[in-house]
Amino acid sequence: MSLNRRDLLKAAGAAGALNLVWPLSPGLSPARAREAAEALGAAYDPAPFTLGVASGDPVPDGVLLWTRLAPEPLAAEQPLPEVVEVGWVVAEDRELRRVVARGTAPASATLGHSVHVPVSGLAAGRVHWYAFTALGKTSRTGRTRTAPVGPVPRVRFAAANCQAFHDGYYAAHRGIAREDVDFVVHLGDYIYEHGPVGGDHVRDHDTPAVLTLADYRRRHALYKGDPALREAHAAHPWFLTWDDHEVVNDYSGTGGGAPFLQRRAAAYQAWYEHQPHRDASATTALPDPEIHRVRRWGDLLELTVLDLRSYRSAQNLPDGTILGAAQKSWLKGTIDRAPDSWHVWANSIMLSQLRGRPGGPYMFTDQWDGFLAERKEVLGQVRTSGLEDLVVITGDWHSAFVDDIRTDFDDPSSPLVGTEFTAHSVTSGGYSADWNATNGPVMGRANPHLKYFEGNRYGYDVYEATPERFSAHMRVIGDRRDPVSPVSTLTTFHVDRGRTGSHEDPATKNSPAQYRRD
């Protein structure tokens, strides 16, 4: 009997919950599981490029191209030779006629038949198109862009975070794919590691908690079964960091025992295999990819990508670290050497202090609130070095915040050194509307640096920087249960060059929010 959407939905109705049949994989072969997933709305690309194409880490003369061969995306073993030759081409036009670079790369089963191609020799500040070939097939065509050099009048980029598969469709990524942006930053929680959640969800995880390399590969492949995610990858180059759920909730990268470190290595390897990540460390190697890096978008913007998971200690230690000693030293050096430009930190988890009630404890010490001495040291370095025009973009919270960054959050008169924008999540559930309505004002009273809170919506941020102004546009979708839910702009905040602190655009200042200071 073949599976079809009508039967599945009928079964779902009988079961009372759609998740019980999504994607009907327990006991099914990978091929049948895929068939079931597709019947419920997933739409993998044609084999072997089922998971699509992507580009990442754009620099002035090149970009990293990615794909993974997975004819059966949910299978532990792919029906492929041990090594497959993959061709790639980069062109100046969408039809791939004006070819500027081409080559081949091997896709090894040891890396999940993924390929990562660092293309160089490209013209700076240009749009390029690319595609792969393998086994007589050609992938979809992706679009990418190299970083510009010199004076740049404008840069626009999107930031996404927290995309729990079971919490909704990726209408936000559909929106990102359609944005006129130069690049995308993903701030982490790209996958979630746990098993099915049950309840009233549009879809669900198909396997128990993931533990092994095969498990994590399958989970990444499941997430890439949402066509909007693949569309967003194919539309723009991405920069990536990660948070905890790429491995397991609230983990610390150090101090774990051998069973955890087996799991972490599997998760890290699978993450690498599924992302357009350029790995080129002098001091490490896979399966420990090096994520932190600094990139420049002409003279206009310096992007500092932080890794707040790999090297962190336990929380709430007097000498605890969220960066690790080497990354902290590197970041402080980056601060000292920073050029005159906008400085954007891609920061997976909230930097600003957040108390749940006036005088009360910190809400979550998994964020920088659990690493007080290091936060003080880093922000002190920002202050003493004279770094200006700092904007921190953050994920993790499943709600939108705007914070002033002060060197001492408990002292409202302490120096203001930057602005933090915490973006809505793509899908991952936030608190209830009642909780937000009650606690938004409470958090506002408890945190004098907090300027704005909105927790009832989902989406992403689009940031636009010119030499004079940095603007954060909060894009929100109407309904996570609708894969083509329209996108609108909830509000916009601005930071003016040379002046610390943000202000909300008057045109959207009356938009819904559970707290705004002004």
Partner: protein, 208 residues
């Protein structure tokens, strides 16, 4: 031929539980290992504990750092039956092996990984061994063998070997242990490769 230099911890300073300042053949990128003698005793693995049959006199341990990492970059042979032409024809397999272990029921561990890179430093293959858990050692002090192997992807030119020894919980001693680390290449007879891939690869991009 084993391409790993001093994969058996027999060369250079060591012999006690004290961390060393350098390790022959390896770059210390984090922490500092101790190259402990099997004869040292004091709870460390001895010749009577599980480990390599031909184990020499010493093994790697993590010293007193919570994480100790050693790195070795290996240039693959340029010529011969496992040289570049054979690699690019898809006719060379690699095999990596290591004895990895720990102390009693503790979860200190050792992980050995080999990342193969092309001429531009891009990873093209990866094998990860361990870390071996206490359960896998049956909560017995000692080392157990882990192996992996695969077809060497065309274009592979170097191998980065990374040995990571980790401590868990309190205490000072990092009891991740390793010995007998090896990386070998072997030619695959023409026509017998499992790759099914094109015989010649051009792995670097070119301007069109």
């Amino acid at each position: 031929m084993n391409l790993v230099v001093n994969g058996d911890a027999e060369s250079g300073p060591g012999g006690t539980a004290a961390p060393v300042g350098s390790v022959t053949g390896w770059r210390m990128v984090q922490g500092a290992p101790a190259l402990v003698a099997y004869a040292l005793g004091g709870g460390y693995p001895t010749t009577a504990d599980p480990g390599p049959a031909q184990r020499g006199s010493r093994f790697f341990s993590g010293g007193d750092s919570p994480r100790t990492a050693l790195l070795q970059d290996i240039a693959l042979p340029a010529a011969g039956p496992t040289g570049r032409d054979a690699v690019d024809a898809g006719r060379v397999r690699y095999a990596v092996a290591a004895w990895l272990g720990g102390y009693a029921a503790q979860e200190d561990g050792a992980r050995l990984s080999v990342e193969f890179r092309d001429g531009r430093g891009t990873p093209v293959a990866l094998s990860v061994l361990g870390p071996v858990t206490a359960a896998e050692r049956r909560s017995r002090t000692g080392l157990v063998e882990r192996t992996a192997g695969a077809l060497l992807p065309p274009g592979a030119r170097t191998a980065r070997v990374l040995l990571v020894l980790t401590r868990t919980g309190g205490g000072t001693s990092n009891d991740g242990y390793a010995d007998g680390i090896s990386l070998t290449l072997s030619p695959v007879a023409a026509g017998s490769t499992a790759s099914g891939s094109a015989p010649i690869f051009t792995t670097t991009g070119v301007r069109a």
